[in-house]
């Protein structure tokens, strides 16, 4: 377990300042990469740190403290992004693939074409659009996706965090990826023209 995390759990006031000084600048850049507005990014950062302070007792050291904070601040920024667009949390089941009664895809599946976005600017824009799609995911999909893709947790670690079984956590992650795939396809993100 991180020594700083231990001090935070013990309520050491200096540890909180050290935490914010150590990670604040980097995490502000994370929030800004999602929100593109310094004032909104600062608010998300503040909300993220408050959420982290409240839940530090649950930090188990399975990922690095910085990675854990990254996920929390990123989630705060994504929720703010969605709130700005006034999109309510939907069920998300409509984002899963549809099949006929014969179990065949209801619609022919498009080939997404070749990969590879070499240009740095285009790559930045692509990532921004992917984050917008993640922001649209309902929480039941967004959280497992971030536990895996940001914190890199195993199925068992995700299960402990989500209060479920490893198998159920794997299924939620799989559905989250399917839902994100649908949103990316709808916006033609990463899809060759």
């Amino acid at each position: 377990m991180d020594a700083l995390a231990d001090r935070l759990k013990a309520g050491d006031a200096e540890a909180f300042e050290e935490l914010v000084r150590t990670y604040g600048g980097r995490l502000r850049a994370v929030a800004l990469s999602v929100l593109h507005d310094p004032a909104d990014a600062d608010e998300a950062l503040q909300e993220g740190f408050l959420a982290a302070f409240r839940s530090i007792g649950r930090f188990e050291g399975r990922s690095q403290l910085g990675t854990w904070l990254h996920r929390i601040v990123l989630n705060a920024a994504l929720m703010k992004l969605r709130a700005k667009r006034s999109r309510p949390d939907q069920d998300g089941e409509e984002l899963l693939p549809q099949f006929t009664s014969n179990g065949v895809f209801a619609e022919r599946q498009d080939d997404w074409g070749p990969e590879g976005v070499e240009d740095e600017v285009a790559r930045g824009e692509l990532c921004a659009r992917v984050r917008e799609c993640v922001a649209e995911l309902p929480e039941k999909f967004r959280i497992p996706l971030m536990l895996r893709d940001v914190e890199g947790l195993s199925a068992l670690e995700m299960a402990e965090r989500l209060g479920t079984t490893a198998n159920a956590a794997k299924i939620r992650l799989h559905r989250a990826r399917q839902a994100l795939r649908t949103l990316l396809e709808r916006q033609r993100v990463g899809v060759a023209a």
Partner: protein
């Protein structure tokens, strides 16, 4: 009907988009041609829905050897599932890249923001 045409039409046959005449043509060809008959049977035994439901296990290598081979065969048979797997893999890569990201050189947090975070923490 040629086998090549039948390979294409089998998926539309199962999707239910073919006319009655075209359906009859697929059924007639599948009855006469053992390769196409096998293809139709395989697509009915392991459906796209089954394939997609266990796609994560397939990609993670969590299926047992025999089941994995059946999934390999379905992927070889089914253009829809091949396209879906490619886009699913791309989604996984894009998600990690966009969320984990390559961050800029860390900046120092402005003092006013540091103070605001401390103040808000004390208020709660």
């Amino acid at each position: 009907m040629t086998c090549k045409q039948c390979e294409v039409d089998v998926h539309e046959y199962l999707r239910g988009t073919l006319s009655a005449a075209a359906r009859a043509e697929v059924e007639r060809h599948a009855a006469e041609c053992s390769a196409c008959g096998d293809l139709l049977r395989r697509c009915q035994e392991l459906t796209c829905k089954d394939f997609v439901e266990f796609l994560n296990d397939y990609l993670d290598g969590d299926l047992d050897g025999q089941r994995h081979s059946v999934f390999d065969q379905h992927l070889s048979d089914c253009p829809d599932c091949r396209a879906y797997v490619a886009s699913y893999r791309r989604t996984m890569e894009l998600s990690v890249t966009a969320l984990r990201g390559e961050l800029a050189v860390p900046e120092e947090i402005p003092e006013r923001l540091l103070q605001a975070i401390h103040d808000s923490r004390k208020q709660r």
